[in-house]
Amino acid sequence: MDAIENRFDELVRSSARLVRAAILRVGGRAARHVEDLEQRVYLALWRRFQAEGGPPQEIAAAYVYRSAVREAVRELRSLPPEEPLAEGLDPASPAVDPERQAAGRELGERIAAALARLAPDRRRAVAAHLQGFEVAEIQRLFDWDYQRARNLIARGLQELRQQLAPEVQDE
């Protein structure tokens, strides 16, 4: 057991910078809880050490890195969206009229359906833009130059509005 614990301690010591750097980079807003995330990474590792005596030495650091990514992704996915929803559409708000909650969910589905009718690159550019990605991030995701990313967003948004226009007017 001591040998396992010593290996674990060694891994924690040698990986501490890597874990923190990965959490800070991946975590974004979740990185505010960086210490809790670090603990979760180490707990996951500790359980694996207990169960298996630890990963092979040659992949140990890679395993730590993946654990850090996994915990940060979990945390990010559990966070609520940053922006307040347009009034009355927040499904999580107890004060909201159930009909409007349903309307909020339905609107999301209609937007997704309208996006699906766009050409693939326009769909990706507009969806990424609406999800809050910066132009530079969209460029990196799809390997587009700045002008192409901007054009796809602008034209895609215009087309999306046209797609949604008849439905919106019905409301």
Partner: protein, 202 residues
């Protein structure tokens, strides 16, 4: 309908099934095939939860793909060397391991808090959590987790090198637990214990 309303509705949309955690890890390490990557992106961009995860993982792209800008030659050489090291760390994280003589992290992991009790298998819930005193520490923080890693207690400002179980604020029922202690000299953390497990038998 304005852009804010469109964005708000899309960001609150959740589409199941979500990509597996392993898929995210492979995306972060650049191991997905082009088709797998496309599937992940097409899902994530229409799913608010996964879009947040995607933005986070995308931040690692800064490590994998350093921006190229013109610089005087000597700066360029330095940047190229640094970029090579960073890229190697991203591809082979084990290369980021500090050399043995440089393994103290932020001055906080240089010492270990020795855990005394509880540990191992116990017939009854422990009355106290005890550890060895750390010189210069003015207080301690105890963290207790379930065996699944769920945080159960986080008690701060412990003056002595022990804490009565009833101060944890949780009932210790039969099961497996993990705990650790951090020795503090606020705002610095002087030392941290290893994670120690114990089991309370039914």
């Amino acid at each position: 309908m304005n852009e804010l309303e469109l964005a708000s509705a899309l960001r609150r949309r959740s589409v199941e099934p979500h990509p597996a955690e392993e898929t995210w890890e492979r995306f972060a390490t650049g191991e997905l095939s082009p088709a797998e990557r496309e599937r992940l992106l097409d899902h994530a961009l229409l799913c608010g939860e996964c879009a947040r995860a995607l933005r986070g993982v995308l931040a690692l792209g800064d490590l994998r793909r350093p921006q190229r800008r013109w610089r005087p030659l000597w700066v360029g050489v330095g940047l190229a060397a640094a970029a090579t090291i960073v890229a190697l760390v991203a591809i082979r994280p084990d290369l980021g391991r500090p050399a043995r003589h440089d393994r103290q992290v932020r001055g906080t992991e240089s010492a270990t808090v020795a855990i005394l009790e509880p540990r191992g298998s116990l017939g009854t819930p422990p009355g106290f959590f005890r550890w060895r005193r750390v010189p210069r520490a003015t207080s301690y923080r105890l963290r207790l987790f379930s065996d699944e890693g769920v945080p159960l207690a986080n008690v701060d400002r412990i003056a002595a090198a022990e804490l009565a179980s009833d101060k944890l604020g949780v009932e210790l029922r039969p099961g497996r637990y993990v705990w650790k202690v951090e020795a503090l000299h606020p705002p610095a953390m002087l030392a941290s214990s290893r994670l120690v497990g114990f089991e309370i038998r039914p």
